[in-house]
């Protein structure tokens, strides 16, 4: 059966969700088609827009990216870039309040500096509540003793490296020590991975038990703050408050590496926000139909979609929006739009230095492949946002999810406007499911 809508969004990560939500706010009826969670669900819990070596305000750092990184999506927004960042910051706070997002309020603010699992500092404009509370700039400015909590297994081993790396960052006022609570003491507990620990803490009574154990360990270590690997997957705000009551000290949460608990939490919060806003989501594969429109495939069913406008937010290699065939040819997977990296339409199977550097640290323009867009964020018949746009590389630009939010927001609004113009003629007489 044909599905009719004003705007169809392909992709359910941060950029797709922002596009859907902003199109909805603009009054459009929105259908979001997502195949499966992608890179957003593996993200760290921080939302990074831009940063510089010099700790510049976020808007200034973003303008620098637009100027210096060839093909960066920020450049497409022109003078609208900083207002769009302001919008995105407020928009995310509004729609993701369940995560207790905190950090920059406007593009004039500076980044948070967050402890990474490797014991480095990562800049980000926003982070989920417990993570943002661990802003290192803030911690280092006071006399404090940060207890890095080693819970079990691999996480306990990693906690030592984290504490070790934080010590010089926090000196001289604040110091980091490893705190090992007597919580997971069964033989099999060492095998728990972080997502499993988070799930365990969501079970009745478990968080209370951890809180009691943490309270003892914190007192013993004279810790003034506790940095825990996770407070649980669901309702992190309440969970953190519970642990703070139990321990009597501020409880901070670590960033997550894939498979990341904060990433899963972000994905869930987006889903909840979409539902709340009245965006209709379907789990399906979107593809181009013979007549150049969108059709969606669920199991053995294939339904055409009649939409006023289309937003492509299908991600890059992880999300599946861009694919490189064995012969090196780059392909956008839904509409077969031309995809490029560093101006080339193929990634040579033996990548030369212009596409992939010899060192893992890059730069790797080949990994920033995408479809590009005009200043209206259009490519072909679609509006494009997020990683499928290409031109940005979170591993080096230190702007990843933020770019997805900004472009998603803008693409959604424009798609809604375009659908409004096209709407009356296209949608009339169509069957609404």
């Amino acid at each position: 059966m044909a599905l009719t809508t004003d705007v169809v969004v392909v992709g359910g990560g941060l950029s797709g969700a922002c596009a859907a939500l902003s199109a909805r706010e603009a009054g459009a009826e929105v259908l979001l088609v997502a195949r499966a969670p992608g890179a957003t669900a593996m993200s760290s819990g921080a939302i990074d827009f831009a940063s510089g070596e010099d700790d510049a305000p976020i808007g200034e750092a973003a303008r620098r990216l637009a100027r210096t990184v060839p093909g960066h999506p920020y450049a497409l927004l022109g003078d609208g870039l900083v207002p769009a960042i302001d919008d995105a910051l407020a928009f995310l706070q509004r729609h993701l309040s369940a995560l207790g997002l905190s950090g920059a309020r406007t593009a004039a603010d500076r980044n948070l500096w967050l402890a990474t699992p490797l014991g480095r500092a990562k800049p980000a404009a926003l982070a989920q509540g417990g993570i943002a509370a661990g802003d290192l700039r803030n911690l280092a400015a006071r006399e404090a003793r940060l207890g890095v909590v080693a819970l079990a297994g691999a996480q306990a081993v990693e906690a030592r490296l984290l504490a070790h790396g934080l010590t010089p960052l926090l000196a001289p006022l604040c110091e980091a020590v490893v705190v090992a609570p007597d919580f997971y003491r069964q033989r099999g507990d060492a095998l728990r991975t972080l997502p499993e620990i988070a799930q365990d803490l969501d079970r009745p009574g478990r968080r209370a038990a951890l809180g009691a154990s943490l309270a003892r360990a914190a007192a013993q270590a004279h810790a003034t703050h506790l940095l825990v690997p996770t407070v649980g997957l669901e309702d992190a705000v309440a969970a953190r408050a519970e642990l703070e009551r139990a321990t009597g000290v501020p409880v901070l949460e670590m960033l997550g590496a894939p498979p990341s608990v904060p990433g899963l939490r972000l994905q869930r919060a987006l889903q909840a926000a979409l539902e709340k806003s009245g965006v209709r989501s379907v789990a399906a594969i979107a593809e181009r139909s013979a007549d150049g429109q969108v059709q969606i495939v669920r199991g053995v069913e294939c339904d055409p979609v009649r939409a006023g406008s289309v937003v492509l937010a299908s991600g890059r290699f992880l999300g599946g929006g861009i694919r490189c065939e064995a012969d090196g040819r780059l392909r956008e997977t839904v509409f077969d739009l031309p995809a490029r990296a560093a101006g080339r339409d193929a990634l040579a199977a033996l990548p030369n230095e212009t596409l992939f550097a010899e060192r893992a640290a890059g730069p790797h323009p080949g990994l920033a492949a995408g479809v590009g867009a005009d200043s209206d964020l259009r490519a072909g018949a679609a509006f494009v946002c997020g990683a499928v746009l290409g031109g940005f590389d979170p591993a080096r630009d230190e702007g990843g999810l933020g770019v997805c939010a900004v472009t998603g927001l803008v693409a959604g609004r424009r798609a809604a406007r375009a659908a409004g113009k096209a709407g009356a003629s296209a949608a009339s007489g169509a069957v609404r499911p």
């Binding site: 890179a39 593996m42 993200s43 760290s44 010099d54 500096w113 990474t116 490797l118 014991g119 480095r120 500092a121 990562k122 800049p123 290192l136 700039r137 079990a152 297994g153 691999a154 306990a156 081993v157 030592r160 490296l161 984290l162 070790h164 790396g165 010590t167 010089p168 960052l169 033989r187 099999g188 060492a190 095998l191 960033l255 997550g256 590496a257 894939p258 990341s260 290699f317 992880l318 599946g320 694919r323 490189c324 065939e325 064995a326 090196g328 990634l347 199977a349 033996l350 990548p351 992939f356 010899e358 060192r359 893992a360 640290a361 790797h364 080949g366 990994l367 591993a395 080096r396 230190e398």
Partner: protein, 555 residues
Amino acid sequence: MRSYDLLVIGGGVNGTGIARDAAMRGLRTMLVEKKDFAAGSSGANSGMIHGGIRYLIDDPQVTRLACLDSGYIQRIAPHLLFRIPFLYPVLLERPGEPTLKDRAFLYGAECYFEAYDRYQPLKNGKAHTRLTDGELHELEPGIVPGTLGAVTMDEYGIDPFRLCTLNARSAASYGAAVRNHTQVMRLIRDGAAVVGAELKDLRTGRAEEVRARCVFNAGGPWAPKIAALAGVEVNIRPGKGVHVTLDRRLSNYGIICKAVDGRDVFVMPHEDSSIVGTTDDDFYGDPDDLSVTRDEVEYLLQAVEHTFPAVRKARVLRAWAGIRPTLYAYGPLEDALSRDHRIHDHEVDGAPGFFTIVGGKLASFRAMAQEAVDAVARKLGNSAACTTHQVALPGGEAPAPEAQELSRKYAVPAFAAARISYRHGAEAERVLRAAEDEPELRAVACSCEGVTFAELAFSLREEFAESLADLRRRCRLAMGVCQGSRCAGPAAALVADERQLSSEAALADLTALLDERWKGNRAVLAGEGLAQAELVQGTYYTTGGLRRGGGRPWR
């Protein structure tokens, strides 16, 4: 100054094998390796103890020795060997329509394999069989249809990294001084005689002089460079061999395929992956700086595709290269070069006390080491018998414990227990015992290859591992499908802990491992491999902040 009977230079299979043999005969022995055991050619081969059927006509002594020694290697390291039956399909130009020539070819092939059967009992291999096209496809349905059938042959795979590590450990247990990450800077002469070396520990920068009555150059592709330190010329004809690793066991059997130029290329199951190889091309570059070209990868994949089209469905994880230190000859094509070995006593070149070994095969390393140590022993007046074919390598003394049992007893996942049992044989319990006192060692660091922290700790404590790259070689850390996205960070934390490294040093080690993995991925990036690369980048650079230095970045 420390003084030894024998200084062995090179920690490949020859060097570690020689050191073990010499130490077992009571020679005071030192082994030095500038990188790590099996970091060169010994770790860049097909991972097979094979009998060398290819040399049957021109070099039957090579085949015989390889088969004989394969049998001995099975005896001393039974846990490390795994049987790989090979299929040799006979493809037809017009599928299903064999010509007389095709039938004659199959007949000839069968005669050839029958001749090889004579050597199979030496390595507990089964005699060849002939399969019809139907039988062949029952075994491997992915082979192109309409063949004339196939001939089978029995071979064995091995983890060559562990083989070298175990030799080095065994040498140490017999009193040898074992130093990896230690380079020979200079040879010490007394008149013409080579009487020692100046060593440099590449991690600490510390220099040391040692005396030795004999010095053995087992440098493989680096042998000419090491010989030059003694003013001696050693000539080899280096041949570059490229392999690619696929993300899964694509076939249950090894399959012999024909490349576009008529050469044989194999695809073979190896642990949880498949290996495709190899090329053989004259190499004129620096063995410390190997890279793989697109042509080489495509040549190998095309060769397999011709017989086994499913290879295109697999994800190519990485491509890697090594250099064969083949005996020098001017004239023959690379493939036609002899795989025989030679031991040079450089007394005739005016450098008494200095020896070099070149050529040879992984499968006959033990016999070559025996011959090498015989030459040294004669010179030193040592008459002890070689026992390396009788005494087990560490872990080979008794049958490996059953994985389920290990899993229950030590509360580790069964899939990890199975890998520990394979890699460590009778030592498996020793590996896991540390987890009794340090519960976090039970955790799985690398779920692709089933590596527990206990195994990493064991290698750091007992197997001369100093870095993540060393752990990769000993435990297959980061060698699986995720290429280090999950394990490298946690493992770096363990290394830092065990070695009391600063955060800076630990992250430099992590960067080195990621660089090494990237080097192999970079040559084959496509399809899902790019998603994996994006995930690695996200984990270590976006989330991990690894590119940022350790300084305070805020104002």
